[in-house]
């Protein structure tokens, strides 16, 4: 601490002696002119469509705004309405957390475990298995296949199968029965959740230093589980952190699958999530201020969970 203040004081002194602070910054900017030019196009678009909107959204959440009239300041009213008066939002919040708590960790573990086993395979089979697990996440809306599986009449495959072997007598309305909707959306979401982080893990396993493992064997590591815990996990920490971000963000953003399978709105809001609630107010009711409040809550949940998980993962293997 002391050293730091001393250094600051010293650098301050030097700066005072040579030239004013602003001129130094200008010189620095001019020296790096080319770098700023290179990053400018990307950053311009990135700020216009990502950074500024987050700030605008936070600001707008304190207004009543319907795109026609001039925004009217309402203070915390949108938030009090959200948490105290909007029962559907509370259902959405509960569903979102159920989704996230299940699909987040399960998909993360699945990405890791499958990548770990795939890594033991010979290269050709490894490429095939990678494709098998990764394909659902890039195959667009092929999840409509699941609509046939869970179809509510006796022609739905699951119903047909269960009735054939006598587990049930009447077909079950899988996608319109509140009891089942949430679980079905979770299953389908898990099916297509082996995405970018799965690839990152596959790549991470391939970059592990073989000599570390051999050295570990000399030091008494006897089986694959010990190898995984003491060598593999710690050397993959950067990928683990990256994967966590991808999976957490995706697990809180469940919406498209829910809409495709359960409809919008779903029966009795059984598969309603924060994102579908946001769509409801933002694109149907045009209550932009209120929708911004929902977006802000979603933003805080996502960022908060991510930063917390990053902190936790930093401890892996320490």
């Amino acid at each position: 601490m002391q050293a730091e203040t001393a250094r600051q004081a010293a650098s301050g002194l030097v700066r005072v002696k040579s030239r004013p602070r602003l001129a130094g910054l200008m010189r620095e900017l001019r020296k790096n002119k080319h770098y700023y030019i290179l990053i400018a196009p990307y950053m311009l678009i990135f700020f216009t469509f990502t950074v500024v909107p987050v700030v605008v959204s936070m600001g707008l959440s304190f207004f009543y705004f319907n795109m026609l009239e001039f925004p009217r300041f309402v203070g915390w009213q949108n938030y009090t309405r959200l948490f105290l008066d909007d029962d559907v939002f509370l259902i959405a919040l509960k569903n979102t957390f159920i989704f996230a708590l299940i699909t987040g960790p399960v998909s993360y573990l699945a990405c890791f475990i499958f990548a770990w086993i795939i890594n033991e395979l010979p290269p050709k089979i490894r490429a095939v298995m990678t494709l098998v697990f990764y394909a659902p996440s890039i195959s667009g809306n092929v999840f409509f296949i699941w609509l046939i599986v869970f179809s509510g009449d006796s022609y739905g495959y699951l119903n047909g199968f269960l009735m054939r072997y006598g587990f049930i007598l009447e077909p079950i309305q899988w996608l319109t029965d509140e009891k089942y909707i949430l679980s079905i959306v979770i299953i389908v979401q898990l099916w297509l959740s082996l995405g970018t982080s799965f690839l990152a893990f596959i790549a991470g396993f391939q970059t592990i230093d073989r000599t570390l493992i051999e050295a570990g064997a000399v030091d008494g590591i006897k089986n694959r589980w010990q190898e995984l815990w003491y060598i593999t996990l710690p050397s993959m920490r950067p990928q683990l952190m990256f994967g966590a971000v991808m999976q957490i963000t995706a697990s809180f953003a469940v919406a498209e699958i829910s809409i495709a399978l359960a409809g919008f709105p779903s029966v009795n809001y059984a598969a309603h999530t924060v994102v579908t609630h946001l769509m409801d107010y933002g694109t149907i009711r045009f209550e932009m201020g209120y929708a911004s409040a929902i977006a802000t809550v979603l933003f805080l949940i996502m960022i908060g969970t991510n930063l917390m998980t990053q902190k936790l993962l930093r401890k892996v293997g320490q």
């Binding site: 033991e120 409509f144 089986n223 933002g282």
Partner: protein
């Protein structure tokens, strides 16, 4: 002779460090089981596209097709030939969005990643931190202000509303920057001594060296744009995408089951093929995807 030993002989497996054969066998069985869970819906979707009508509705359903036929595809083209806007229009729209969006993203993200990966200048660290933070929330958060920005710019109902935001996809910049960090500084120094400008270095030295990362950005960006249905931004029929048009067709329900299956195949086969081609490059890029403390 135990059964595991016999199996090992049968598959000619040599004993590896820290590996017991029994556990390996069990883990592979586990992987195979979930592999089936993952693959069967896709295999089924592919087979459906070639099934004649009677096989599509057969009960109990069969995964594999018995008498493959291309009828579904003929029906699809017949149907599209009669539609108000010709099919080729939708294809052109999708190709336009996908190609410009993907190529532009790779170019802009690489240009921004190069200084961030290789140099320190005022603001560079803060900018990268913001990019990493933006990975931590989804696009839904910014949807409402985005709509307002679009209408303010007058981009509603133009392809720009889909293309431009996708150019600054943050995952692309992140991966590109991590990958570029591996380029040896000596290479850049040598070019500088030879008198190359920063732009020259970027274009003739950095870009050719990060080809695997281009493919990765492509494989991440392409399916999103390819699958884009125009969202809330595009409402003119002649600007809509292939995905939207095909989605409308398969909305037809039971009567369109065969055509719907053909549609699904067309939509899924393109991104999957691209991944198959670029897989090894993608994995190579992902190796540097890690987040440092």
């Amino acid at each position: 002779m135990t059964w595991t030993y016999r199996l090992r002989l049968a598959f000619r497996v040599r004993r590896k460090l820290n590996r017991s054969f029994t556990v390996t066998f069990l883990l592979f069985a586990f992987l195979g089981l979930f592999g089936c869970f993952s693959a069967i819906p896709l295999i089924y979707a592919v087979n459906n596209a070639f099934k004649p009508l009677d096989e599509l509705f057969i009960f109990p359903p069969r995964i594999f097709v018995r008498n493959p036929t291309l009828d579904n595809f003929y029906d699809l083209f017949a149907l599209m030939g009669n539609s108000w806007v010709p099919l080729s229009r939708y294809i052109v729209n999708t190709l336009l969005i996908t190609i410009i969006g993907t190529a532009g993203h790779i170019l802009l993200a690489s240009a921004a990643a190069y200084p961030l990966a290789k140099y320190r200048f005022p603001g560079s660290r803060a900018l990268f931190t913001i990019v990493v933070l933006s990975l931590m929330f989804s696009g839904h958060v910014t949807a409402i202000p985005n709509y307002m920005v679009m209408s303010w710019l007058g981009w509603i109902n133009t392809h720009l509303s889909i293309i431009v935001p996708s150019l600054a996809f943050s995952l692309g910049l992140f991966l590109m920057k991590q990958f570029m960090e591996q380029i040896p500084d000596a290479l850049l120094e040598a070019a500088k001594i030879d008198g190359a400008s920063e732009y020259r270095i970027f274009w003739s030295i950095v870009m050719p060296n990060v080809k695997p990362a281009w493919l990765t950005l492509m494989i991440l960006q392409f399916p999103t744009l390819w699958g884009s249905d125009g969202g809330n931004f595009i409402y003119s029929e002649n600007l809509k995408t292939l995905h939207y048009a095909l989605g409308q067709i398969s909305q037809g329900g039971i009567a369109r089951a065969g055509v719907g299956a053909a549609v699904a195949l067309i939509l899924m086969i393109v991104p999957i093929t691209m991944f198959v081609i670029s897989q090894s490059n993608v994995i190579q890029t992902m190796a540097s995807s890690g987040m440092k403390d």
